[in-house]
């Protein structure tokens, strides 16, 4: 076909050649059932066309990526595990409940010390030195006097 050329001359109809060729190769078949041919073709294509309209579920959309994502995920998980093992853990902070409990226990101890017969001495042992704290000294003295 590489030797194909062009011609500007429209071939003139040749009835004798046409008749001879028609005799040798036949005329086009008359009365083809076009509706049946179209219906058969449509029926054969229906499954393929339906496949084009079907909503693809998420797991099928992921399938093409799975071959890449799964190894990547495995590598990332292994790296995270190694990092977690190598990194030193920070000291655990005190729980809030422990602080509250300690505070409450401290208050109870102070109250007991104040209520004790030798008042200010016990308070001093529990709460530490009270020097230079005029408010604390005044409160402790008032409670001690009241207790007596």
């Amino acid at each position: 076909m590489s030797e194909e050329r062009e011609s500007n001359i429209e071939p003139v109809p040749d009835p004798a050649l046409r008749a001879a060729l028609a005799d040798a190769f036949g005329e086009q078949p008359a009365g083809a059932d076009w509706a049946t041919i179209a219906a058969r073709t449509r029926a054969a294509a229906r499954f393929r066309l339906r496949a084009r309209t079907r909503v693809v579920p998420w797991w099928e959309q992921l399938t093409p990526w799975a071959t890449r994502l799964l190894p990547l995920g495995a590598v990332a998980a292994a790296a995270a595990l190694v990092l977690a093992m190598v990194t030193p853990r920070p000291a655990a902070p005190l729980a809030d409940s422990a602080v509250v409990s300690s505070t409450v226990d401290g208050r109870d101890a102070i109250a007991d010390a104040i209520a004790a017969p030798n008042g200010s001495g016990a308070v001093r042992r529990v709460a530490g030195p009270v020097d230079d704290d005029w408010l604390w000294n005044a409160t402790a003295a008032a409670h001690a006097a009241e207790a007596r």
Binding site: R5, E6, L21, G26, T41, R48
Partner: protein, 186 residues
């Protein structure tokens, strides 16, 4: 692109989305021409129907690779002719041997019948020596009366190339029939 090509392109877009009606319309628009070409390739009406259906299904399978900016017909008919040539080879040309059969008039004398049969055989042999595309073009042009423009649009080649094929085929066929003509004259 012609208006017909634009309609085809719009239908192809819908077919890509699975539109059955669009596919049906596309089939109906090209079915008759496809059947004519298929018949010229295979020489049997039933085989031609099978080929047409097969080509439309193949086209659907490859519809995503079709360039929407180009005409649909040449793309589709290339699929059809390739499939048809494959089918023709695989079926060992059973069609050609079954073509017209006995179309001789019953009024023919034995000599006339023999002459007609001789002419048929020579013509078939001569056509078989032509390039495959030329065989198709000469039959569509000479027997089926397609214009060079129609053939060109269908096969995706220029009018001038179609005309050249027709001239070449005529020259080859006349040369093949020349001995018969001399016999008649003598």
């Amino acid at each position: 692109m012609t208006a017909d090509d634009a309609v085809d392109a719009a239908l192809v877009e819908r077919v890509r989305g699975g539109d059955v009606d669009a596919y049906d319309e596309l089939v109906r628009r090209h079915m008759r021409r496809a059947h004519a070409v298929a018949y010229r390739l295979l020489g049997q009406a039933e085989d031609a129907e099978d080929l047409v259906q097969d080509a439309f299904i193949q086209a659907l399978d490859r519809i995503d690779s079709f360039d929407i900016e180009r005409p649909f017909a040449p793309w589709f008919f290339r699929i059809l002719t390739n499939r048809g040539l494959n089918m023709r080879q695989s079926r060992a040309l059973r069609a050609v041997s079954e073509i017209p059969g006995d179309t001789a008039s019953h009024d023919d004398s034995p000599e006339q019948s023999a002459e007609r049969e001789e002419l048929r055989t020579r013509l078939r042999e001569a056509v078989a020596t032509l390039p495959e595309r030329q065989q198709l073009i000469v039959q569509l042009f000479e027997i089926d009366g397609w214009t060079s423009a129609e053939i060109a649009r269908t096969l995706g080649i220029s009018d001038g190339t179609v005309r050249w094929h027709v001239h070449e085929a005529r020259r080859a066929l006349r040369a093949a029939l020349e001995p018969l003509r001399r016999q008649e004259q003598s």
